[in-house]
Symmetry: C2
Subunit: 580 residues, 2 copies
């Protein structure tokens, strides 16, 4: 029997696109089982969209079309498609919404399985919308038996009170039954290191059940969340087939008869859900903890993920022009380079350099060198005159000089204003250039350098920004001028300003932040990892008082297990003393 | 027996403040039961804070202090206090967190009841963090029996699969037992009309059980969410005692012996959770649906709620100065007036007027008149010159004029920039002046008039902004110059611009938006309510394409059942066609 894994890529609620995808699936002579991702029929995550009447009625109409389509298919085919099942009250309001598998077979469309484990941590809010199932399902097609799971169902951890895969395993043991294949329909968000975890768990389940494990994941960028595809088939310890990352694809697999033997015992996932979110991004064996280093292939994956995320956002919001504010520093240089290297036909990119009185001549030279290397037009819009005029006016009007933080921030905000004027002028997408270290300690100006429609590198610590830049230069030698990589980071908002005047060096700051953010560690615990208490106090203080800035920040393309954004929910107003 | 309802007001995680509150409770001679709000010991909503190690260890230490304190109390006292109960794994990571009632009695501190119904709709994410209980509890103190509930436990609706109050009712019937009193510890967010719903349900439950119903609610403003207190005791159909709104208070009640008779049948709440969120804010009986009008007491409540929310945010973030950008229009006038009327000793307020070439002379005159009435200093910071200079520079640099939307937005962003320069100069809180109608249709400039630390009237439709302003003028005749109330709304970003050039008149726009946002109605359903299809198309289009602006907006003080902010979660990138 042929199994086709449809690693699909559709915009949320693009019912026309989804229907036309189904309609163009060609009929095979052989018996063929088509498998689609979780919530293929609707897209994911829908959030409140699944509660709006417009969505519900469009979806119900669409399901009628899918029913008609199902009638046109042959009896040697079956289709397992993730979708929603609504139960409404007499006013037409949803009472229960289930995350199900719709099966098209023999001219009929039925929902045959309801997701049992609804993830509700981090970015996941599934218990907000969905009602869980309680029954396993063994699906039969052409005398073969398929165990069904939806995404989280394979990831039961010690914080859950149900393990759907274990239930299935025990049932099969008890009834002395066998299945031929285990299938998981997924909508699994990407982060660095995620695929490794998926494969580890899938091969484990394949060995446990003694059958091939088929994993189908969707492709897409939904605001901040990326779905990477990378569908695969695990057979015992091996991955016998795998799909591309970040690309729609159909991959095929022949299900043969030779079964392996199931294990005697079920293999539990030894994790705590709140902890299992976190990739092991800290190396704690050294004297002072360090960030886990990125290999070249990590860098390549990261580059592809970020570029995919940007193109998804631009494509879905209808932009084909990009504008980036260039400072002569590392962050904006990497952002410009990543965009340039991802440009598609019909797209354009430009850079704006906005020097103030504190900008070094080198900043311009490096910006120009980068733009020349990339073939990107560079516009220079000095803010000196506006800045000086505003300072004079403030002195006249308020009888006091604009100095200190006020004098620094005004420069940054003038840049934000001019950048957006240009963006409005040509209808381009402003890509934000902040990094995760800055965001964590609030080392940026709200409405200034923090502006942008989407943040490309807001999930990368500063040292990772350098790492990725160096990697790009190994692919394209000299593309990013060496001077940008080697000069000390500076915001250039006052004379001789350096990041290190205000912050610990990034090689210490970044692992400290990873401990604080991803592991939610306290100062005490971080101090036990070798960090200095003085630096920790400074960092916790900056972190605690900058929550309001992160609150108004744009979506950040999520490439880590724990990121700022939708899955990070810390109140602004609280007693800060608990951190100290 | 004396029952004391502690309607408390503490900052999230202010363990020192909470302990010192407990320590100053005087000992009574009479038997006294002290009742506190839900999560009194921690504050609410904590969101991810309850997962951070700093919080967990501070809380555990604090609980030890509470245990010591419990030993100091007398045997004629008992204390029922909402708090958290952590179960951790061997690494000290939380496995399960329960929202419980801690009881201090006879020198001991024990958790005696776990919340069974965890709200998880709208702003509520309790299933993300908490593990639900499954057992009812009857608490005994001095030969009296108390039924215990925590907040949502009394609100089971048709979308839930458990009704804790009904379970208790059935148990009592079955065992032929009686209780003397029903207690609900709450942390119930405020919205207009909420108290009426609480009272309706509580009197119903009091009648059903035939005992007094004691409802204790917390006070506080937590970013966007307000807790209004208004604790009360219901006895049958009557409220025999009630606490103030938005103020900490201890109210006392004597529990006597004379019981009423319990009903034969339990009285269910006839609602759908997703629908029960929504107050009936639309009057649909007319030819075209209208917003439900506000009575004078609605206006007074709204005024108090907004002022309380602002003061909470300012107090907890440490600001005692406020800056407001005044335009000569209704929104900023109301914001300035509300702040002025809420100023406390040591606080100050100033207004900044920033005219462009399109600002009418009347705008200044009205701004000045308002500031004179309020005794607020007014600074004028013209943007004409900056605007003209930028236009010239753009022409020189980009070879094209700044016109249309770009020319409108630059004015708004220059204002945002100058406003924040002033705010940085004196360390003042910038209060945003956008209203809900504008936010819904994106009729504002990102980083321009949308700036601010907190939005005071972002949950009020434009017609409600007028209504509240008129109400304030009935309290303080002439305080807001009549000219501000009567002039047609305009953004003044181009010659002779009027809101009605781009939007339907607010008396039609606002109820349309209420249907779209609060009831999540489709165009079809709104059209059936009498709205014109052309106007609906325009409004849905503006709404759908402005999601990105709302995504970067500041916290909005929530005074409605359904608001923009944390409880509103709509993806930016999606197929917009579903709306049409």
């Amino acid at each position: 029997m042929r199994i086709k894994l449809h690693q699909t890529h559709h915009t949320l609620a693009d019912f026309r696109g989804i229907l036309s995808y189904l309609e163009t699936i060609s009929v095979e002579k052989e018996d063929t089982l088509h498998i689609f991702p979780e919530l293929f029929l609707t897209g994911y995550p829908l959030r409140d969209l699944c509660l709006t009447r417009s969505f519900i009625s469009s979806y119900q109409e669409f399901l009628e079309e899918v029913k008609k389509w199902a009638k046109t298919r042959k009896t040697n085919e079956a289709f397992l498609m993730g979708g929603l099942h609504y139960t409404c009250d007499d006013k037409g309001l949803p009472l229960h919404i289930k995350n199900v598998i719709w099966c098209a077979q023999n001219g009929e469309l039925k929902d045959i399985y309801t997701k049992q484990l609804l993830p509700n941590y981090d970015i996941f809010d599934e218990k907000k919308y969905f009602t869980e199932g309680h029954e396993n399902k063994i699906f039969e097609f052409k005398n073969k038996q398929f165990g069904l799971l939806i995404c989280e169902d394979m990831w039961s951890s010690s914080t859950h009170n149900c393990d759907p895969a274990e239930k299935l395993f025990s049932y099969l043991k008890k009834e002395k039954k066998q299945i031929d294949c285990l299938i998981n329909l997924s909508a699994s968000p990407y982060n660095l290191g995620k695929q490794e975890k998926r494969i580890a768990r899938s091969t484990e389940l394949s060995k446990t059940f003694g059958v091939p494990f088929v994993y189908v994941n969707r492709v897409g960028g939904e605001d901040e969340i990326l779905f990477d595809g990378q569908s695969f088939v695990a057979q015992g310890p091996d991955i016998v087939l795998s799909g591309k990352a970040f690309k729609a694809e159909i991959i095929e697999f022949n299900l043969t008869k030779n079964l392996q033997t199931a294990s005697e015992k079920y293999s539990h996932l030894e994790e705590n859900t709140w902890e299992s979110l976190f990739s092991p991004a800290l190396v704690t064996k050294k004297k002072v903890a360090e960030l886990a280093p990125w290999s070249a292939s990590d860098c390549q994956e990261m580059k592809e993920a970020l570029q995919f995320g940007l193109q998804e956002y631009a494509g879905k919001t209808g932009f084909n022009k990009f504008t980036v504010a260039l400072s002569g520093g590392m962050d904006s240089a990497l952002v410009l380079t990543l965009i340039r290297l991802s440009l598609k036909k019909g797209q354009s990119l430009e850079a704006i350099y906005m020097p103030s009185q504190y900008s070094a001549g080198l900043s311009y030279d490096l910006s120009l060198a980068l733009c020349t290397n990339l073939g990107v037009p560079l516009y220079t819009l000095p803010i000196k005159f506006y800045h000086a005029t505003i300072k004079n006016n403030f002195n006249d009007i308020f009888g006091a000089p604009l100095e200190g933080l006020a004098n620094e921030n005004i420069q940054s905000r003038l840049r934000g204003t001019l950048l957006y004027a240009r963006s409005n002028m040509i209808n381009s997408l402003v890509v934000n250039t902040s990094n995760k270290s800055e965001l964590a300690v609030g080392y940026s100006t709200l409405y200034g350098d923090s502006v942008g429609a989407i943040s490309l590198i807001g999930d990368l610590y500063k040292t990772e920004v350098y790492r990725l830049s160096q990697y790009i230069n190994t692919l394209h030698p000299g593309l990013i001028p060496e001077g940008i990589i080697t000069r000390p980071p500076s915001a250039e908002l006052r004379e001789n300003q350096k990041d290190e005047d205000s912050l610990p060096p990034y090689e210490r700051l970044d692992p400290m932040l990873e401990g604080l953010l991803s592991y939610r560690l306290s100062m005490k615990e971080l101090s036990d990892m070798g960090f200095s208490e003085n630096e920790l106090k400074k960092v916790f203080n900056l972190y605690a008082k900058s929550e309001y800035k992160r609150n108004q920040f744009c979506p950040i393309i999520k490439v880590k297990a724990k990121s700022f954004g939708f899955g990070y929910r810390i109140p602004i107003t609280k007693e800060q003393q608990i951190y100290f």
